[in-house]
């Protein structure tokens, strides 16, 4: 098992401008999109991380985000994130089966037009589903991906649901404040779902 120091040294040697950070006992390597494939290759060839365990996305929108859970009563610290530029962060978790170590590579791309090189170039099979999912949920275009299509949502879906600017959706909860709740026989239950959308 390679120690964190060894991994840091290896990345510093092979990847231009890689910055490593250790937190919670895990090692994260931050790279620029241009160096992403280098970093992945370095992990695979130099560090023996043959398994691409996970690819996930995190959306950090621009501007100030305030979300309050219970605005009037609690005095709970508000949920406040301020950023100048919105970004989609994509995290690659790589694992070495033979040596047992694990490393995470983090890369950020602007959320307006997120584009990243596809890790299919390094992990030709394992990355396919993962990247399709990140594309589906965050809209990141992976250049060089053999089949970048929606994987979980319907193909004609608009928007990328796991971005922070996409609302949670669903229906309003009727049992709230002083809202009038119609009795069951007055509710319109026959409306076919999404008349404009699903071809039911």
């Amino acid at each position: 098992m390679a120690s964190h120091d060894e991994i840091t040294a290896t990345f510093a040697e092979h990847v231009l401008g890689a910055r490593t950070e250790e937190a919670f006992g895990e090692l994260t390597v931050f790279v620029q999109p241009e160096q992403l494939l280098d970093a992945l290759r370095c992990a695979k060839d130099e560090l023996g991380c043959e398994l691409l365990a996970d690819v996930s996305g995190v959306h950090w929108p621009a501007g100030e985000q305030v979300v309050e859970r219970q605005p009037s009563t609690t005095g709970w610290p508000e949920y406040r994130i301020t950023r100048d530029e919105g970004a989609i962060e994509v995290l690659y978790v790589l694992r070495s089966l033979s040596q047992g170590h694990r490393v995470r590579i983090a890369v950020q791309t602007p959320d307006e037009e997120p584009v990243l090189p596809s890790s299919v170039a390094v992990y030709p099979q394992a990355a396919v589903f993962h990247e399709r999912e990140v594309f589906d949920m965050f809209g990141v275009h992976f250049e060089g991906h053999p089949k970048l299509e929606r994987i979980l949502m319907p193909e004609d879906w608009v928007g990328h649901p796991h971005r922070k600017d996409y609302p949670l959706g669903g229906v309003e909860i009727p049992y709230k404040n002083d809202k009038h709740i119609p009795p069951p026989h007055e509710r319109d239950l026959r409306e076919v779902v999404g008349e404009g959308k699903g071809k039911a």
């Binding site: 365990a53 996930s56 859970r69 978790v93 089966l97 394992a126 004609d156 071809k199």
Partner: protein, 454 residues
């Protein structure tokens, strides 16, 4: 009873008319009205779908043998599978997004519903991640209970695999036996958590409540029952010629290809790689106990069957060792900013409140009541950061990539689901085999659609 037989609507969700040649299919498809098509029906657009004697057929999403709502687009040449494409998302539930709007404790309730055959593994992986962010570790007793329950959960999950897998290849009695024994395990879960499935029993910092006084006896009774029943399965299946012929040599995937596809779990172990997170990345003090990682050299469906059977035995071995020296003490961390102030235990009447605590907060301490109220309604805050925590679920590496921004809710939780990743390998595993083998291949991968689609 009047039936309106319309051949164009028969069988599956996509229309399957019967023109003379395959080439006519697409021509006809142009003239069909739009409403015949269903979203996601992309099979007719596959470039190779109509080449000479190649035929594209659609299996699922409503198909009795595809483990839920999995849809497979098969490209066939005669009976031989040339290409298989899994189409997923029919059970996409948006759990990851939903969890962003709930407190950290409520996350446990959401993630348990993801892979519904291994709910406790999901809770455990999530809670380990949150505990890593919080910098706390659950007490020894909680760890032991977690380990016992997740190993029982592994057995239950493999039993369902055996049951449904058996049913899919025609061994219907196996279905009845598998579910019969699973009931006993669910009884144990129900006695501890109150629910048969979707327990939300493992919480960040420990457990929702202590185990009942007869927990160890219940587990021991199960450990006596199960080996006997497993011998029964082996008697039924090991020399069964149908079971042998349908599984042996079907769905071969060697170790390199498996790793290349990101496959983990029993499928990888059946290819000879002794990869088990309980060994390489131990959790819940599992490194203290003696157990083997079963592997096999055949790398086919039969190997996976044997590996899973052996895994059930090893799980029992772990449980036995834990029970031999079952720790006492609390089941929740001491930190009162995380744990609810009550030391809750399930009373003999099945009600989970400690009378002394009720007396204390209602009669003596207003602050305790307020603290409890705020902790329940708002939850605790978790330091900002990103972690990835993984456990060995019955299907492979189950990882939770959690991002916190220092509030009372997760900023983002992504789940690395072994079923989702393993499904990528279905294509290479079924190429060159017949349609009936596809069922075996998918069954031996054991995808749970709740986990695949999340």
């Amino acid at each position: 009873m009047s039936t309106t037989e319309n051949p164009a609507e028969d069988v599956a969700l996509t229309p399957q008319p019967t023109p003379d040649t395959a080439a006519d299919w697409v021509d006809d498809a142009e003239t069909w009205s739009d409403d015949l098509f269903v979203d996601g029906a992309d099979w007719e657009e596959l470039p190779d779908a109509v080449e000479d004697d190649r035929m594209t057929i659609n299996m699922g999403p409503q198909h009795p043998s595809t483990h839920g709502v999995l849809r497979l687009v098969l490209e066939l040449e005669g009976e031989e599978v040339k290409q298989l494409e899994p189409v997923i998302g029919y059970l996409h539930t948006g759990i990851e997004k939903n969890a962003e709007f709930r407190t950290w404790v409520q996350g446990s309730t959401f993630f348990t519903r993801m892979d519904y055959l291994a709910p406790l593994h999901n809770e455990l992986a999530y809670c380990l991640g949150v505990e890593k962010l919080l910098g706390v570790e659950a007490p020894e007793r909680a760890q032991a209970v977690r380990l016992v329950l997740t190993e029982f959960n592994r057995i239950a999950s493999h039993l369902v695999w055996l049951a449904t897998g058996g049913m899919e290849v025609g061994a219907v009695s196996m279905m009845i036996y598998g579910f019969r024994e699973r009931e006993h395990i669910l009884d144990l879960f129900e006695s501890q958590s109150g629910l048969r499935m979707n327990h939300a029993y493992i919480r960040p910092g420990g457990l929702a409540q202590d185990v009942t006084h007869d927990f160890v006896e219940r587990c021991e009774a199960l450990l006596e029952l199960l080996p006997e029943k497993m011998a029964e399965y082996e008697q039924l299946l090991l020399k069964n010629p149908i079971w042998n012929t349908r599984l042996r040599g079907v769905g071969i995937i060697d170790a390199d290809t498996a790793i290349e596809h990101g496959v983990t779990g029993p499928v990888l172990r059946a290819a000879g790689v002794p990869q088990d997170l309980r060994k390489t990345d131990p959790y819940c003090n599992v490194e203290q106990y003696d157990f083997d990682v079963p592997t096999h050299t055949d790398a086919d469906s039969w190997a996976r069957f044997e590996v899973r059977l052996e895994e059930m035995r090893q799980s029992m071995r772990i449980i036995r060792q834990v029970l031999d020296d079952f720790p006492t003490g609390p089941v929740m961390v001491e930190d009162k900013t995380i744990a609810w102030p009550s030391q809750q235990a399930l009373g003999p009447d099945g009600i989970g409140n400690d009378p002394a605590y009720i007396q204390h907060i209602m009669g003596e301490s207003m602050e305790a009541l307020i603290n409890h109220f705020k902790l329940v309604t708002q939850g605790f805050t978790v330091p900002p950061g990103q972690v990835y925590s993984a456990v060995e679920s019955p299907r492979g590496e189950l990882g939770y990539a959690i991002t916190s921004t220092g509030t009372n809710r997760p900023y983002r939780v992504h789940v690395r689901e072994p079923s989702f990743v393993n499904l990528q390998a279905a294509d290479v595993m079924s190429r060159g085999q017949s349609v009936s083998d596809v069922i075996v291949v998918v069954a031996s991968l054991d995808p749970v659609m709740g986990g695949v689609d999340r």
